[in-house]
Amino acid sequence: MAHSATATAHMAHAGHHELGFVRTYIFSTDHKMIARQFLFLGLFMMIIGGLLALIVRWELAWPETPIPGLGMFLPETGGAIEPSAYNMAFTMHATLMVFFVIMPILAGSFGNFCIPLMIGARDMAFPFLNMLSFWVTGSAGLIMLSGFFVDGGHAAAGWTSYAPLSAVTSYTGVNWGQNIWCISLFIMGVGSMMGSINYITTIINMRAPGMSLFRMPLVVWSLFITAILLLLALPVLTSAAAMLLFDRVLGTSWFNPSGGGEPLLWQHLFWYFGHPEVYILILPAMGIASEILPVFSRKPIFGYHAMAFSMIGIAFLSWIVYGHHMFVSGMNPKLGLSFMITTMIIAVPSAIKTFNWLGTLWGGRIQFTVPMLNALAFVSMFVIGGLSGIFMASTPVDIYIQDTYFIVAHIHYVVFGGSIFGAFAAIYFWFPKMFGRMTNPALGHLHFWPTFVFFNGTFFPMHILGVGGHMRRIYNPTQYEFLQPLQHWNVFITVSALLLGVAQIPFVINFFWSLFAGKKAPANPWNSNTLEWTAPSPPPHLNWGAHVPTVYRGPYEYSSPESKDDFLPQTVPPTPARARAGRH
């Protein structure tokens, strides 16, 4: 350890002046630059994924009418969306948002940024592999985007790509689009494996002196657990994607019953990956909230150990709940019962976390900064997403609400209300450290409040549609008599969704304006305890000067009687007098 520390310190001096533009900004091995790259990748993809969602929403509110502005791209229909294009739009919306927005931003960007800085490491364990991870993921993203330009259009079998719809070209008319989908996810899976190995190794081996596992900030815990889930879950997806590709181009029949294959095998593989994936998307956001709530409540996190252990519990249980996606799939109904039990149990650690977050606020001194508002939105929206999940966990109720808009509402409360608000919270919170400049709080409020209002306007009524029986993935709800009385909700939702899109403009302005003209950030703008705030903003290459920090205490010592300030950084050594005062 000591040896490698001096070796890297040596490298710091050697490397500082020699890195050119390409090695600094493009093929960088610095974890902070890679974090920025992942952030830009995710935000860019979020624009595309968001526009696709608006296309879907337009179609549902005003079916088969031309979409303003789309006429120049679709001259043959005058801007109206055809059923196959509609299927492509929601398929790619979900694919991009899950694999190229939330994963790159939460796991890719904040994983890279936070882990070394918060455990007191100078960089990742394998900096070159880290760089490779970004470029492999980035290439996968480019390959995925190329699918929009091939003959037959992009994949249109849903992000779940259920076989045999996805396995046989003639069923959808999509040929290379679906192949590209498989190839891209295969490559993305390889990239994420590189990242996850790196995260796990770094956290286990490269913590600063004194940084025991239970002195780690909870966001590092969450990223550690996420990395383990990534390492174990993504290979299942990559294998399944390869098998699907083989079915499509080599004539194997893994999933196609006409050749002796089994359609449900795809679902088992997909959801065996897919359910841990949901926790991959939400765990880092839980970590981020656990980081931000104590800082702006000026209070220690409530129940640190329960928070860490509940995440471990979620991680374990996430492997044995996946069958709840398949209650009406034709899977043996007895199996449905066991998956119902595990699914009910996994709600318990989520409940523990929610109550502990409330406990953190209790008796605090709450400061409503922009990151705090987003973190509070995360907590409250995650509560709704978690509670609506209980409906689906009950197998008889799931018979009715499976494949309806209730599920769409649920998943968006978890991955938008949860993960995306978590991502916004993280961006506003760490922006000063990441880019060395403060964001504009007025623009931040102008972004947060409309986003929060229109998010609920968009997704809450979807519960009502789902309870009314409104199916997912239908092109034109007015084709069904029983849905016609609900159509006004579709219009309401679409108007909210359009406004939700408009509400992101202040974010884009704020982001780029602050990047170049924001107020210079001090090292510790939020009076926070964790190690990243002991480095300059932005941290230099290898993060700290001659010595990495030494850790003396846990990460959440706010308003401690040991200190006259309301915060006590992890690096401040206990003085004998303070140690004595603390014991009383």
Partner: protein, 248 residues
């Protein structure tokens, strides 16, 4: 109550599903109110004001044990309450003499009645396109099949949903309590014609159903006796498929 948004239930087991739905609605609704009121009160009471000192505490073991055990108990109870309905709907098959072969394909539903001989695969089978007729007051067994991709048999008012998976036959049942005409949409994405893939379920009183059966399924027997075996049933669905090509 929620009845204004759940469609009317017309099946014998739908009531059990609705009862569970309402139970979960009240439990989650109560939790929602509890959490949000607490959250809002905390945000107002503990907001940053001059002179306010935050409480220095790392947690409370009794409280944490309480909010682990209480949700766990509620969820376990909910699980056990869900088991009987699930087992009745999906794991048991009531004895019945009304069996209908349901075959899904892009983008239609075919309903085959066994005809007077009560057997499938014989010349007197009668196949209807996008139209199913069943009586009230008797369990109806449907054997779900698919010819191409996965489809899903969904009748909102019956509270019934089951995927039809190619390569296997899945037997399901329902018993309707109220005559009427109900929509049967496909609930699983099945391609570009997924939206609009639907059938109508005509639910008759037992007498009307007997009449319908005599007029429609027995006609098939008469036709089959006149024509060479097997011809009558094969031509019909194909001819009707053509008329429904709107999805393209």
């Amino acid at each position: 109550m929620l009845n204004w948004w759940l469609p009317e239930n017309v099946s014998t087991y739908g009531g059990e599903i609705d009862r569970l739905f309402h139970l979960i609605y009240w439990i989650t609704g109560g939790t929602f109110v509890l959490v949000f009121v607490t959250l809002l009160v905390f945000l107002v009471v503990y907001r940053d004001r001059p002179g306010r000192q935050a409480r220095y505490t790392h947690g409370s073991t009794p409280l944490e044990i309480a909010w682990t055990i209480v949700p766990a108990l509620i969820l376990v109870v909910l699980t056990f309450l869900s088991v009987p309905a699930w087992s009745r709907i999906k794991m048991q098959m009531p004895p019945t003499d009304i069996v209908i072969q349901v075959t899904a394909k892009q983008f239609n539903w075919q309903f085959t009645y066994p005809g007077p001989d009560g057997k499938f695969g014989t010349a007197d089978d009668k196949t209807m396109l996008d139209e199913m007729h069943v009586p009230t007051g008797k369990p109806v067994r449907v054997n779900l099949r698919s010819q191409d991709v996965i489809h899903s048999f969904f009748v909102p008012q019956f509270r019934m949903k089951q995927d039809a998976v190619p390569g296997r036959e899945i037997a399901q049942w329902f018993e309707v309590t109220k005559p009427g005409k109900y929509e049967l949409p496909c609930a699983e994405l099945c391609g570009f014609g997924h939206s609009g893939m639907k059938a109508w379920v005509y639910v008759h009183t037992p007498e009307e159903y007997a009449k319908w059966l005599a007029e429609n399924v027995n006609v098939a027997r008469a036709a089959a006796e006149e024509k060479p075996a097997g011809e009558a049933k094969k031509d019909e669905p194909k001819a009707e498929t053509k008329t429904r090509g709107k999805a393209k």
